[in-house]
Structure formats: structure tokens, C-alpha cells
Symmetry: C2
């Protein structure tokens, strides 16, 4: 992520810095690993890291972007054999958790700043907009031909809502300290089932007023 990767050697140095950083983040955590440590491990001076990354946070951001890109084919494969809304939703989230698993600590640094859209990190920021949109597109795709009728009025907003729901699960996972993250797994199981039935039920004609209230809420929060 140099300003403009002019030479091949620069590209290599940049990757070396990223790699050293991630290794140290995994090994000792985001806060313990210092920029000096990272630079030293990469075999460069402290300042060099700042030629490639404008800040320590930016390294995490780069990791996040690369991870999301790598995840795309995995998601596609996981959805291959999932036809119902519930399984699709669950598998989509499960793939993400699995992919992030070795770097849970790094993700923790990313989600530390919560939902503040002002902070460059945070999945709601301007900096992560592109990732977010690619992500939401998957939730849009999940809804087509899934066997459950999606109410017309809810349809345009549902992908965003599901993405938000997914973010909640990921957040819970990052915090989860239970062995094997078993609580997250239970949550994923229960919550996807609930969401799926909720969507099914919401399509009932009786539920029109409920849908209208929900839509108002969504409108305000967006």
C-alpha cells in the first residue's frame, strides 16, 4: 500500500512490513506490538513503515481489505450448496468467521472503535465503504431464489439490515471468550433461524402494520 508502488523492491518492502506487523499482532496483540518492533522485524528503520502506511491503524485496514478480497471465492463456494435463506445466511457468516479465525486479535483492533463512522477503522467509516458495499451485495444475492417470499416494501432495505445483523454476530465473536467460541456458534445457529422465520412471518398480510413500523425505524437509522 505505498503511495504509488513505483519499483518492485518497494512493493516487496511494503509486503514485508505488512507481514511483520500481522505476525506481531497475532503473536503479542495489537497494543503490545510497537511500530519500532514492526520496522525492526521487517529490517527497516522506524520511519519506513510510515512511508508505506500512514498510521498503525492503516495496517489493520489494509489487512481487512485484503482479507475481504481473499474471502470472495470462499463465500461463493460456500453458497454453492446452500439453497434456503437460513442456511445461506449461516454459511455466509460462518465462512467469514472461519477466515478471520487466525486473526481474531487483529479484528478486535479493528472493531475496537465500535460503530463510530468518524473513525477510519470501524466498519461504518468512509474508508471501509467499498468493502461494506461489496459485502452488502452478497446479502442481496442471498435473497434471490431462496424459497422465502420477500415483501416488496422490505426488499430494498433487507440486505443492509442483514449486513448489520452479521456485524453484530462478528462483534460478539470477537469478544467471545468461551472455549472454541461455542457461544458464538450457538448464537449463530439460533439467530439465523430466528431471522429467517422473522422474515417469513413478516410476509404475512396481517403483518403489514408491523412492517411499516420496522421500515420507519430503518429509515431513521440509515
Amino acid at each position: 500500500m505505498p503511495p504509488t508502488k513505483a519499483t518492485a523492491k518497494a512493493e516487496e518492502t511494503g509486503l514485508k512490513i505488512l507481514d511483520s506487523a500481522l505476525t506481531l499482532f497475532r503473536q503479542e496483540g495489537f497494543d503490545i506490538a510497537t511500530m519500532r518492533d514492526i520496522a525492526e522485524k521487517a529490517g527497516v528503520a522506524t520511519g519506513a513503515a510510515y512511508y508505506y502506511y500512514p498510521s498503525k491503524d492503516a495496517i489493520v485496514l489494509d489487512f481487512y481489505q485484503r482479507a475481504c478480497a481473499e474471502m470472495q471465492p470462499k463465500i461463493e463456494a460456500a453458497l454453492e450448496h446452500a439453497s434456503t435463506l437460513e442456511t445461506r445466511l449461516r454459511e455466509l457468516i460462518r465462512v467469514k468467521l472461519a477466515h478471520f479465525a487466525p486473526n481474531r486479535g487483529v479484528l478486535r483492533a479493528l472493531l475496537r472503535n465500535g460503530a463510530d463512522p468518524k473513525h477510519p477503522l470501524s466498519p461504518f467509516s468512509r474508508e471501509t465503504k467499498e468493502i461494506r458495499e461489496v459485502d452488502i451485495a452478497w446479502f442481496r444475492k442471498i435473497l434471490v431464489d431462496c424459497g422465502t417470499r420477500i415483501p416488496r416494501d422490505l426488499e430494498p432495505h433487507l440486505p443492509g439490515v442483514l449486513w448489520f445483523f452479521q456485524m453484530g454476530v462478528i462483534f460478539f465473536w470477537v469478544i467471545d471468550e468461551s472455549p472454541n467460541e461455542s457461544r458464538t456458534m450457538r448464537l449463530l445457529e439460533l439467530a439465523t433461524k430466528s431471522v429467517a422465520t422473522l422474515i417469513k412471518v413478516s410476509a404475512l398480510p396481517l403483518m403489514r402494520p408491523v412492517r411499516k413500523s420496522a421500515l420507519q425505524l430503518i429509515e431513521v437509522v440509515k
Copy 2:
């Protein structure tokens, strides 16, 4: 907040530091105001601040504790003339927002670390446990004689859930940039109404399976 407020002069110095800090936090924001600034404004050396507060964050924590204590009578007064669940819920939250209004920026520093229970700040931490419990007690109180029948199985968990809901509203408020925080006010109106009807509907015998799912979810998240 000295270790033990031995003399009267010490108490005064401590308050001076707290006051200087809060003034600067309001004036320039938590990040801009430095400990050196705070100490200087209080007329003491930099290190003195650390005799009274173990960290910059601790100042915010102290503010939070004091603010919550001050709020108690205001809450009591506001609930005096609220009899329905919806109005009680709304008024309770409204009082909090009103009380925190002059220090929205300080609260932002508090909620910055999101829901990480590891961080001393964060409304979910061990450090804020006492506040949390006092807070939840209000939500328990709100439910008695409110005119809506609360399902037996839901009852013990409902205060915690409502507290969590309230935390969401406060979080939204803290990052809300709309003029006069009008979006938060709309959200408060809509969301309390929805929550109230949701509770009403959940009491229907038909809804027993739905309640059971919800309870399972609550159990996992707790």
C-alpha cells in the same frame, strides 16, 4: 477521587482537576485536551493529576459515576407522572439524554471502546458494574404496575434487555449529527413504541414458541 481523601485541601484539588478536565473535554474534545493542559488549568504539576486519577480514562469514569448519581432524583421525578410502559421507557431514556446533553463529547469518549468488557470504560466493564446494576433496577421498577402484562418466563430477563436497548439509543445519540439530534428523538419515539407493543404481543399464548426462541437467544448473549 483521591486514594483516600485525607485532607480538605486534597479534596479541593481533586475537584479542581476534575473540573478543569471536564471543561477542556467539553471545549476541545477528549483527544485534544492533554493531561498537561488539564494540570496546568488546575494550577498543579502534570504528575498531580495522576495522584488523583490513575489515568485519563479514569476521569471520564468518575464523571460517568457522578453523572449517574446526580441523575437518580431526576429519573424519579420523570417517572412520577408516567404510568404506561411506553411513556415510562421513553421518559427514562429522555432524562438520561437531557442530563448528558452538555457533555455529549465526554460520553463519546466513554462509549468509544464499544462493548468490550475488557476495557475499563465501556458500560459492560467490571468497573461500571455498579452503575449498570443501579440502572437495570430502574428498568425492573418500570415494569411493575405498568398496565401491560409481562409474561412470567420473560420477566426476569426483560430489565436487562431493556437496559441494552437503552444503551443502543444512547450510542446512536452520541454519534448522531443531525441538527438538534432530531434523528435520535425520532428513533426514541418509534423504538419505544415498537418495544412496548412487542412486549404486549409477546404475552399472547400464540407467541409462546417465539418467546422460547427469544429466551434462548438471551441466555446465550448474557
